[in-house]
């Protein structure tokens, strides 16, 4: 309890520094804005309904990307995990694909899929795909071969084998991949919006940047980070539950 109070005190002290430093001549409000201005802008967004509208757009992009990327990643991960020929053909491509700076591919996807929702969904899905692919693949491959062999001898086949043997062994990996994927799905949606959009949280941020309005940049980023942070806490809980 004491630690919590101390942490709050440190955070409040830092916010106070940010608020009052420009008053004594250190730092320029134009560049560093102030916590009060940021909070009141966020409050304005909440009151006018702008926040809900733009959060909804970004959340849609991230969630659609998350679902599509997860399904494709799981399918390919299963195929590579269970079949050696497929894994030999695809794994090198996946390893290289995973190393690529995929968030930087946003302009290409906007050129292909337009300014709307779909380009961000594809970007988010392409990022999520690799997290889930490697989660499922490593989950299956790192499982005990002995267990699988025993289950086979006992007559385990197909879906039953997958459900009762492979999945329980892989679940920890999958949840870990999913946890990372959620943050990246949101980041992908936001970065996609930076590079071509007319709505969404990323649009609010990049608009602030174009207007040289640091308050708006901070407010937008604060909203994004709060959302991703809260989702991370929830998923961490789910992860500990799933491992039981």
């Amino acid at each position: 309890m004491r630690v919590v109070i101390e942490r709050v005190l440190v955070s409040v002290a830092l916010l106070a520094l940010w608020q009052f430093l420009p008053a004594i001549g250190l730092g320029d409000r134009f560049f560093i804005s102030s916590p009060v201005a940021v909070v009141s802008l966020i409050w304005e967004w909440i009151a006018s309904g702008d926040l809900a509208e733009n959060v909804w757009i970004t959340a849609q992009e991230a969630l659609l990307g998350l679902v599509i990327g997860s399904v494709l990643g799981a399918v390919f991960g299963l195929a590579c995990g269970l079949n050696n020929a497929i894994s030999r053909a695809l794994l090198p491509l996946m390893t290289v694909g995973n190393a690529l700076p995929r968030l930087a591919f946003a302009p290409l996807l906007i050129a292909w899929f337009g300014f709307g929702l779909s380009s961000k969904v594809v970007l988010a899905a392409s990022v999520v795909f690799f997290f889930i692919f490697f989660g499922v693949y490593s989950g299956i491959r790192s499982g005990s071969g002995l267990l699988v062999a025993n289950a086979r001898i006992l007559g385990g086949r197909g879906l039953a084998l997958l459900w009762h043997v492979h999945l329980p062994q892989a679940i920890g990996w999958i949840v870990a991949g999913l946890r990372l994927a959620v943050g990246y799905a949101f980041a992908a949606a936001v970065i996609g919006e930076y590079l071509g959009s007319d709505s969404g949280l990323g649009y609010l941020i990049v608009y602030g940047k174009e207007m040289l309005d640091m308050t708006q940049v901070f407010a937008g980023l604060a909203v994004v980070m709060t959302i991703v942070g809260c989702l991370d806490v929830v998923l961490r809980r789910v992860g500990t539950l799933a491992r039981r």
């Binding site: 290289v96 995929r102 290409l108 640091m214």
Partner: protein
């Protein structure tokens, strides 16, 4: 027969790549897809060759690499310093925990507009963003790693008369090396992503600038050729430099 299978197996990733490229070329050649948006492999390859031949690309590769090298080095060093600081002064770590959580809340590349606005469209903003991204990854990796150093080894060293300094030198730093190398491997992709995303949002040179210029002039071949060079550098650094380093590092993973 077995031999043929083996060769086919090894070649299959390349066959898939070639098939994808042929499909792309065919689709644009036979009017199934619009080369104005999709470009075509031959156009992109010609542009890549042209940039290499004229040396146009050199300057831009250099700029991006400089941003990454400076930011990456500074970020790794800063991350190491703070991780050791947190480890040896747990009180500080305890108090700073909320800040670490915020730092880790989302991929740092989303902070690009903030960096451009604060540090301008020059190289500095990219270096700072790379620094931040690498710093966060190094800090978290190394700090978690240090906390996992086996207590028995520490206690044994203490019994044999090691003081705090001996412990740091003979136990913690060797143990940390493995984590530092793995953090270096982890963060290189993030470093390039941060630099390029930041260049996309405001720059006058660099690989990200090429891509952005291609986007605003609706020249998909520019976008693709620019991304090709970005991808090539990342793959070269990751697989030819850092992966062998990591393999070597894990050999003497004694703790």
């Amino acid at each position: 027969m077995a031999r043929l299978r083996q060769v086919l197996g090894a070649a299959s990733p390349w066959l898939i790549l070639i098939m994808l490229l042929l499909a792309w070329q065919g689709a644009t050649d036979f009017g199934l897809a619009d080369p104005r948006y999709l470009s075509r492999p031959t156009t992109v390859a010609a542009l890549i060759w042209d940039w290499i031949r004229t040396g146009f690309i050199l300057r831009h590769v250099e700029v991006t690499v400089i941003e990454v090298v400076v930011g990456y080095t500074a970020g790794t060093l800063a991350g190491m310093a703070v991780a050791f600081g947190f480890f040896f002064f747990p009180r500080v770590a305890e108090l700073c925990d909320p800040m670490v959580v915020v730092l880790n809340a989302a991929p740092r590349a989303i902070l690009a507009p903030f960096a451009v606005l604060l540090f301008g469209i020059g190289l500095l903003s990219k270096m700072m963003l790379v620094l931040l991204a690498v710093f966060a990854i190094t800090l978290l990796n190394l700090y978690t790693g240090l906390k996992e150093v086996d207590r028995t080894i520490v206690d044994n060293a203490r019994v044999m008369g090691a003081n705090q300094r001996d412990l740091a030198r003979h136990v913690y730093i060797p143990a940390a090396l493995v984590w530092i190398v793995s953090a270096m491997r982890n963060s290189i992709g993030h470093a390039f992503t941060a630099a390029i995303v930041c260049e996309l949002l405001g720059a006058t040179e660099g690989l990200g600038w090429i891509v952005a210029a291609g986007q605003s002039a609706v020249k998909p071949d520019w976008i693709m050729a620019g991304l090709f060079f970005a991808a090539a550098i990342v793959v070269i650094v990751d697989f030819l430099v850092l992966a062998p380093l990591e393999r070597r590092g894990s050999h003497w993973r004694v703790f």
